[in-house]
Amino acid sequence: MMQTKTSPEQDVTDPVLVERWQNGDAAAFDALYTRHAQTIYRLGWAMLQQTQAAEDVVQETFMRAHKARHRFDPDRASFGTWLYQIALNYCRSHLRKKRLVTMPWLRPSGEPPELPDPMLGPEGHALRGEYRRLLWEAVQKLSNPLKEVITLHYYMELPAVEIAAMLDCPEGTIYSRLHNARRRLAETLSAQGVSAPEIFEAQNAH
């Protein structure tokens, strides 16, 4: 009921909206906010893990974007990537200011961790649960840059090419960082004698 009515902004692309926004159209800004604020909020949340801080990320990002809107160049990056960049910079400086050495990944959301998978039996679920628990522990031991890239890729579900645009580095760098992160994780896990349950393979075969 809330937003089922099609607003005229819905079919318009980001670049068009940005242009209207640059020309002072308030509704265009609002439409851009509707499109991107949730993602920015998730990014802030993943990086800083505090409700208030995540809200600040959204507010700061859109404020900074607004101030710099005339400097946005659609040929260099998509609007979403540009926003991500601003948000990520803010998160990093926030962490620096708070002198946080690592991202404060301390308190997960307190939700039951997973949905049942009809392909897994009870034993499969137990195996997977144990594997996931150890994997989470291993993730927390990663260095900040690796954690960051893992978050962007696996939590935010951003493709390597977009992360590369965000961090302003070659795509290959992202691949190798992801590779490094996964290798570290694999090493941590195998040092504990953990290997991925074979049950995953049965599923992958489909």
């Binding site: 959204v58 404020m63 308190r107 307190g110 939700e111 039951p112 290997s195």
Partner: protein
């Protein structure tokens, strides 16, 4: 160096960065090299599991609706002439249509929600980890018949005071109310393997017989909510046939139409509070708004008390309705999670005064709720109260230290004390129909599930681990239309 090369090949293989010929070669090699094949399995496991692990651990937060308003305010004082249009409300309303109105209303609602749980954000900064290592007798034997926890096992717990500082996570009532009972030192001297140092019976740790009845709890299975029913001994797990319903309330006494539920999104059925027999053969819609929630039965008559966000400001208000839908009463009081006293007349609820300054548990009755109400327990983080069906005791959940625990207090707020401790989250408590046991939801021992606790002896055990779903729905309408929804917004119930 060689393994590094293989790793890179496997990575490239997984990332689809190889040519067809290179892929074929890698596949050929994998067939001959079991170690490499295992590496591929591990890499695939990581690739497949990292997303779900991060999402589960970090959660999927919803953007608070009021932020749109804040951001607008923040960019308002720009010197650019064209943006002064932000300050002209009519123009903005024209441009944005109903979105702006909704955002403003939602802002109002959020002030209420945040006002009621101001410490919410601090909850996310504790040192606990949801996927933390399982302690004690762990995962393996946990699911079907979990170990019954009684009094502390450490022989050094020479006094109840010492015991309170031990790693024990149940605080039996007797430990607080009779601090100097003679049995504790006796238990301390004997080095028995499991002396019931805090148990009221000094002789043998006779476990209290398990209670009867049926416990109902909701789970979101990925598509929709469903009510699960189970006996307190962990047997007879079954699913109620109605789909898309949660927040169950089982009548403490009667059997016919004994289940009240909140209906979310049943495409064929009513979207409101619904009462039904457990077999759901005759579901009956008794209210008219899908925001109607948190029903609780009167122990005396066929009457429900509930809370709703049905008004356009989305503030929680209290109502009462007859179980057949014949009459509804607006109790003219803002609040949440109402719970009837044994007399079916007085009730306790969670809320704040008009200014939002004093929050906690309040007590009033169905005739005088508009004129007077009394703050019995000032604690903005006290939630989900349940009034004992047989006594003047109230059990509730609160969060002073970053994790939820169960508390017990008298109905005037006196004698409040903590029932559970430890790093686990314990919440959504409900009394058994005989008022001897408390069922609650907890993530102790590494998995979410329903537990029961006998507060007089401290005996505690898991009834069931949630394997068919979660308490929290995904971030989407209708579940999060009026604000974030957490596991502690649900409720469970215990009926005869």
């Amino acid at each position: 160096m060689h393994t590094n090369h293989v790793d890179r090949q496997i990575e490239a293989y997984l990332d689809h960065q190889l040519s067809a010929e290179e892929r074929r070669q890698v596949e050929l090699h994998l067939k001959q090299c079991p170690a490499c094949a295992q590496r591929l399995i591990d890499a695939r496991g990581l690739e497949r599991e990292l997303g779900p692990v991060l999402k589960a651990a970090l959660g999927q937060p919803t953007l608070p609706p009021h932020l749109r308003y804040t951001v607008r305010q923040a960019i308002q004082p720009t010197p650019r002439r064209s943006f002064l249009s932000w300050a002209t409300p009519l123009k903005v309303l024209n441009a944005l249509g109903s979105v702006a109105v909704v955002a403003l209303l939602a802002f109002g609602a959020l002030v209420v929600i945040r006002g009621q749980i101001p410490g919410l954000s601090s909850m996310f900064i504790t040192t606990r980890q949801t996927l933390a290592p399982v302690t004690g007798g762990g995962t393996s034997e946990a699911t079907p018949v979990p170990p019954t926890v009684t009094a502390p096992a450490e022989p050094e717990s020479e006094s109840p005071a010492a015991a309170r500082h031990s790693a024990q996570d149940v605080l039996p009532k007797s430990a607080i109310q009779q601090p100097a009972s003679g049995n504790a030192p006796a238990a301390g001297r004997s080095a028995q393997p499991a002396p019931p140092a805090l148990s009221p019976q000094p002789a043998a740790p006779t476990p209290v017989a398990l209670p009867g009845g049926t416990i109902a709890y909701p789970l979101f299975n990925g598509q929709m909510y469903q009510i699960h029913l189970i006996n307190p001994d962990g047997t007879n797990l079954r699913t109620a046939p109605m789909l898309g319903v949660s927040e169950p309330a089982l009548h403490p006494a009667k059997n016919d139409f004994a289940l009240a539920v909140r209906s979310w999104n049943d495409p064929d059925g009513p979207r409101s509070l619904v009462t039904t027999d457990i077999l759901a053969e005759r579901p009956q819609s008794i209210t008219h708004f899908w925001e109607d929630a948190q029903p609780d039965w009167s122990p005396k008559e066929n009457r429900l008390i509930f809370a709703s966000q049905r008004e356009s400001d989305r503030r929680w208000r209290l109502y009462s309705a007859w179980g057949d839908g014949s009459l509804e009463v607006n109790l003219r009081r803002e609040g949440q999670s109402p719970t009837f006293a044994p007399d079916g007349f007085r009730f306790v609820y969670q809320g704040c005064d008009e200014t939002g300054n004093r929050c906690g548990l309040w007590r009033t009755d169905i005739e005088h709720s508009e004129q007077q109400t009394e703050l019995i327990l000032e604690n903005p983080l006290a939630r989900s109260p349940d009034w004992s069906p047989v006594s003047e005791e109230i059990v509730y959940m609160a969060n002073p230290n970053g994790d939820w625990d169960l508390y017990l207090a008298n109905s005037d707020g006196s004698g409040a004390h903590r029932l559970t401790r430890g790093l686990a989250n314990d919440g959504l408590p409900v009394w058994s129909p005989d008022g001897q046991w408390i069922a609650f939801v907890s993530d102790r021992e590494g998995a979410w599930g329903v537990w029961i606790l006998h507060p007089k002896s401290g005996q505690m055990r898991r009834v069931v681990a949630f394997e068919q779903g979660t308490l929290t729905p995904p971030v989407r309408a209708p579940y999060t239309e009026h604000g974030e929804r957490h596991w502690w917004d649900e409720q469970i119930s215990w009926g005869k």
